[in-house]
Symmetry: C2
Subunit: 319 residues, 2 copies
């Protein structure tokens, strides 16, 4: 079975680990969000791609969900001693190596997709990890800071400001001019199932869908497209989905997110058992729906979520 | 008193520490060798400048004489795990920060002299540290390896090959086209004394002298120029002076090095007490000479060497 997954960072990575356990023989292609990529200290940093790579490759800091295990922060300490920032972005000594290798390859002329493949040669994530695009896309968030309206990088909004001010708009700068990375449209066209993990529907899955051609390819693939709600009990399981959903005028509920994707894209939607009353509303929108436990409390619970998603996909196929 | 010192790495840095102790009120300008600079992992690394900066700024690994104290090597471990080399060059996590800041500034268009000044804003070495040039100069060594004659970077010759094969030629590539960095010729013209520490006469002091204009400025400065022999008892105190002296046809003795600089450049020369019989030969070459202990066994011994050099300079001034 060929499965295509559109993944953001922590939520997507953990879901993928469950999916691998649930479908060990599946051929999984991950289309990773690169809208949260950022240039720091002259280096290209791809937080979501790295979170997927480290999580599936066994190098992740399990507790925090991002960054490397067994990590130190001496380089960052020294940069701060030189007065060189930003200090709010936590790059560890081991993690820096990934960004140095990536930047060297990009400077040498390799596209991000080739670089990602080279990095995965080491990590062996057990999936094919593709960036959504080789072009530069950067998600900016419009906020009001100190009485002034300004655009900040998504990472700055999330890591430095901790989403403490309202997001007035979310703009994936460069997305309109971007092209899907090599292999992305082919993987979608050849997929048997397409999954949206419980990743952020605006700044993770939404950014991937903003690359011209990807949304259309998914809608036209003719195979079941099933998503898992990142909203449980009207609040995001992690992250800031509520803040950025508000910016796009979508209420922060499991049902509203399904409607936001829409029946033109989604065939099935899983909501958490606490949101069982959303099932009727989602079905009314023309999307198959079921309420199952959606908290990724551990590998087995996550694998069970993946199984439920694949089961719903089979139902959608037969419907 | 204004003192100009032409410095290489470890020997130059340690001598400078002694000089600061011996002449605490002196205004010291260091012209640092950049011929051993190397680009590694997309970063510009300046080993000699950094050794001077770290040593005088209190950040050096005292035991090995280069690199940072309290250092870890996680980034390098990870680069190796990615299969990205060279592995033979020992960059630590803290040290990497210096190269990242430097590379960022150079990419932004700042010359190396401005970057070095910015780095020294943190380290406060208590001297004015100038690179010999803002232009790229790279010392290459011609060797025979596996039956083939090839040129390797000085760092590769020294760090990877450990000078285990003869140096057939030493070429400071780019030196002929280089210009002294801003401030270098001015500092020489305004100096009261010019010192050559016991640094390598070929690949450290010799490379600085290979920048067009520097040798002439020193010869024409009209002030005492005094050097300290890096050769003690016919062998270099540290490093590979013997190997590279052979490449330029100079025997590895205290007297021969003085003759190599020549009386057109040098006014005074200190040799170690074990080389007392070299004094007559050096004097015969028209260079004042004295035999004193030249082993930098500690701060006090090194300060005493600096005092001896300054005393010999005064004698040269009166002669």
């Amino acid at each position: 079975m060929r499965i295509v997954v559109l993944a953001g960072g922590i939520g997507g990575a953990r879901f993928l680990r469950g999916l691998k356990q649930a479908a060990p023989d599946a051929d999984i292609t991950v289309i990773g969000n690169t809208g949260d990529d950022i240039h720091l200290f002259g280096l290209k940093v791809c937080p979501d791609l790295d979170t997927v790579m480290y999580t599936l490759g066994g190098g992740i800091n399990e507790e925090q969900g991002w960054g490397r295990s067994d990590e130190t922060f001496h380089l960052k300490e020294e940069l701060a001693a030189y007065g060189v920032g930003p200090e709010w972005f936590g790059l560890g000594d081991r993690d820096f190596a990934t960004h140095i290798v990536r930047t060297q390859m990009i400077t040498a002329g390799f596209p991000l997709s080739a670089v990602t493949e080279a990095l995965c040669d080491r990590w062996k994530p057990g999936v094919r990890l593709l960036p959504m695009t080789d072009d530069r896309v950067e998600t900016h968030v419009a906020v009001e800071l100190d009485g002034e309206r300004k655009a900040v990088h998504l990472q700055e909004y999330w890591v430095r400001l901790r989403a403490s001010v309202p997001a007035e708009a979310v703009v994936p700068v460069g997305a309109e001019q971007s092209k899907p990375a090599p292999g992305v449209l082919e993987a979608i066209a050849e997929a048997d199932v397409i999954l949206f993990p419980p990743s952020n529907p605006v700044v993770s899955v939404g950014t991937i869908l903003a690359v011209p051609g990807i949304r259309e390819a998914i809608a036209d693939a003719g195979v079941p497209v099933v998503g898992l709600s990142p909203i449980v009990g009207d609040a995001p399981v992690r992250g800031m989905a509520d803040k950025v959903l508000a910016a796009v005028g979508v209420e922060s509920t499991a049902a509203a997110v399904a409607e936001h994707y829409g029946s033109g894209l989604l065939d099935g939607w899983l909501v958490d058992t606490v949101d069982a009353d959303a099932v009727t509303r989602v079905k009314a929108a023309g999307i198959l729906c079921r309420a199952v436990p959606l908290m990724m409390t551990g590998p087995d619970a996550t694998a069970q979520m993946a199984r439920e998603a694949l089961t719903l996909a089979e139902e959608a196929r037969e419907a």
